[in-house]
Structure formats: C-alpha cells, structure tokens
C-alpha cells in the first residue's frame, strides 16, 4: 500500500454500487456481536472512504435518526456516493448474506434444540449476550460526560427509563414519547444561549 495518503492523491471511493455492496457484505460478515467497530476499521482504515471525523459525524446522525444505527450508517454512506442506488446497495450488502446465514442457523437450531448440550450452549450464549449489551451501556457512559444535561439530570432519566422498561414493562413508545420528550425539553432548556452557563458543576 502507498503511504502518501496525506498528500494530494484523490480520496479513494467506491467505483460503483457493486463496490459498496461487496464492502458492506464483507464488513457485516466480519462483525460478530456488533458491526460498528468493524465498519470503522474497514471504511476508514482499510478502504479510506471516510476520515475518522466523517465516520463519527455520520454515525451520530445515524444514531439520532430512528432505525438501526448501522443500517442508517450504510444508508447515509451509500447515498453520498450513488444516491438511492448506493444506499440500497450498501444496506443490501449489510443484510443479505448475514440474513441467509442466520436463518440457516435458526432452522438448524430448531432440529437441534432437543439435544441438552445444544440447549445448554445457547443458554450460555444468552448469558454472554446479556453481558455484551451491559458492556455496551458501560461504554456509553464516557460519552455522557459532555452531555449538556449534566449528571444530575441524565442519570435519573436513564435509571427511570431502565426501570420503566425492564421493571414495569411499559411499552417503548410510551417511554420514548413521555420520558424522551421530557429529556429533550430539559436539554433544550440547558442549551439556552445565554442563561445558566456558569453555576453548574464540572
């Protein structure tokens, strides 16, 4: 690989929607337990289609918009190069091959479910899956340090949300519309241009 990436060389980019499809198929198939870290390595470091900053920016937009993060990310990146065709190619690549694979596994598992060792293995992986999700939550904590809400607000909101969903089993839509809009309103208030800039703690 040439090492003059910092120079005037034109930025690498996908030559066709097929390139996008292949790239996203590849990164999806490498993404066990989460595609996002692999997507970053492939798109930014291996292919050089995006800088780290561009990647982070598109991800944050993909996260804000409804819909699965990585799917939104694929849509945004594909759309940038080839419009709708590019968006469809990227999402298709992300989903097609892994979906065929996982459904084959699901069908096979249906036949294997009676074997105690297989059922036990899946229970074990279920426990690990719980741990993976909890770790994702932990990894989110540092990003909240710069949240304009401040810990005094975001911590109770997060706890209330977890209790409402896991403890009280409220429907997600009620929590998002109720607690979510409350939280956004608080952020709007905190982000007021001039007021209350100095008195809150670090």
């Amino acid at each position: 690989m040439p090492d003059n990436v910092e120079g005037v060389a034109p930025r690498p980019h996908p030559g066709s929607p097929a390139d996008l499809f292949v790239a996203f198929t590849r990164l999806a198939l490498m993404g066990f337990g989460g595609v996002l870290p692999v997507a970053q390595r492939e798109l930014v470091e291996r292919l050089g289609w995006l800088t780290q900053a561009e990647f982070a920016e598109r991800l944050s937009i993909g996260q804000v918009l409804p819909g699965p993060n990585v799917i939104n990310l694929a849509l945004i990146i594909g759309d940038r190069y080839f419009g709708l065709r590019g968006a469809m190619a990227a999402v298709g690549g992300m989903i097609a091959a892994p979906m065929v694979l996982v459904l084959i596994l699901a069908a096979a598992y249906g036949g294997l479910a009676d074997i105690p060792a297989v059922a036990g293995a899946v229970r074990g992986m279920g426990a690990v899956a719980a741990g993976l999700v909890m770790a994702m939550a932990l990894k989110l904590l540092p990003t909240l340090a710069r949240n304009p809400l401040g810990r005094a607000l975001w911590a109770p909101i997060a706890i209330a949300c977890a209790v409402a969903i896991a403890g009280l089993r409220w429907p997600l839509i009620a929590v998002l519309l109720g607690l979510g809009s409350l939280s956004c309103a608080a952020a709007w208030w905190k982000l007021a241009p001039t007021a209350t800039e100095s008195e809150t703690g670090p």
């Binding site: 989460g34 819909g67 709708l84 996982v102 249906g110 992986m125 741990g131 939550a137 949300c161």
Partner: protein, 175 residues
C-alpha cells in the same frame, strides 16, 4: 400463524422501526412484550434463544428481528418482520439526512441528540437485565455475565471469545 397475525407483526415492526433510536437492540424489550407476553407466539426461552443466536452469528444485531420472525412464523415471518423493521426508518433516514447534516449545530438538533443519550443508556441497561432474567437463578450464568462485561469493557478482544466460552460452559451443563 394467521395472515392477520402476520399483519399485526408487520405493523408492530413498522412502529418499532421508528422507535429504534440508538440501535435495534433497544427494541428487544418491546418486541419481547409483543411477541411473548401479548401474543404468546414464542416462549421466553425461545425468544431469548433467538436473540442469542442472532448475536452469535455475524452481521448487524438487527437480524434478531429476522430470527424472531422466523421462529414465530417461518420464512414468511422473517421477511415480514425484517421489511417492517427496515421500511419506515429507511425512508425517514434518506429524507432527513441532508437536513440533519446541515442543521447539526442548531439548538433543536443538539437538544434532541443530548436528550436521547440517557434514554439510549437506559434502554441498553433494560435490555441487559431482560436478557439476564431467564438465567438469573444460576450462579455460573452470573459469572459469565460479569466476565463478559469485564472483557468487553476493559479489553479489545473479540466478543467471539466470550460467546465461545458461554457456549462451552453452557454445553457442558454449567448454566
């Protein structure tokens, strides 16, 4: 499953698609409530096995929707659930991306991002708890969970190692 059931699954996934803020995994608790508690299409154990299988396989987490649909209603269920989950958010994302990119420094967009961050955190915590619930009587499962959290939080090791260890421990009757 009747065509009416399939339609109900499709409609629910359409709604969940628009609610999946901060990741598809955030919709797991509500999908579980709908599929297991409300309709009884799957048992809790089958639902959780579906999630675990999708997490163990490569690809986006979102594919748990296909597996849940598949286990509830076969191939048609998988396609119905997936297209329901993808359609609205795709349309919305494509429409809103340029608008959002241009306005990302405005107060309204920043408030939305900041306000949704703790919600996302709470949803992830809730999902972790719900996934842990069926194995919560087994001490070994707690060791697995704690070990996974430590491994993922503190190291850059692939989650494949944790999933492999979980499969191994569970396969020998540990969980």
């Amino acid at each position: 499953m009747t065509p009416a059931d399939l339609f109900a699954l499709f409609m629910h996934c359409l709604m969940l698609s628009l609610l999946a803020i901060g990741g598809a995994i955030a919709t797991v608790p509500d999908l579980q409530r709908f599929v297991v508690v409300e309709h009884g299409w799957l048992s809790v154990a089958d639902f959780n096995a579906s999630i675990a299988l999708a997490q163990a396989a490569p690809g986006p987490n979102l594919l748990f929707v296909a597996v849940v649909g598949f286990n509830a209603a076969g191939l048609l269920g998988a396609l119905v659930a997936m297209s329901g989950m993808l359609l609205p958010s795709t349309v919305l994302t494509l429409a809103a991306t340029r608008w959002g990119m241009r306005r990302r420094d405005t107060r309204s967009v920043k408030s939305f991002v900041a306000g949704m961050a703790p919600i996302t955190l709470g949803l992830l915590a809730a999902t972790g708890c719900l996934l842990a619930a069926p194995v919560s009587q087994r001490p070994v499962a707690w060791l697995l969970i704690a070990g996974t959290v430590l491994l993922m939080w503190r190291t850059r090791l692939s989650p494949l190692w944790a999933l492999g260890a979980g499969a191994l421990v569970g396969g020998f009757g540990g969980v």
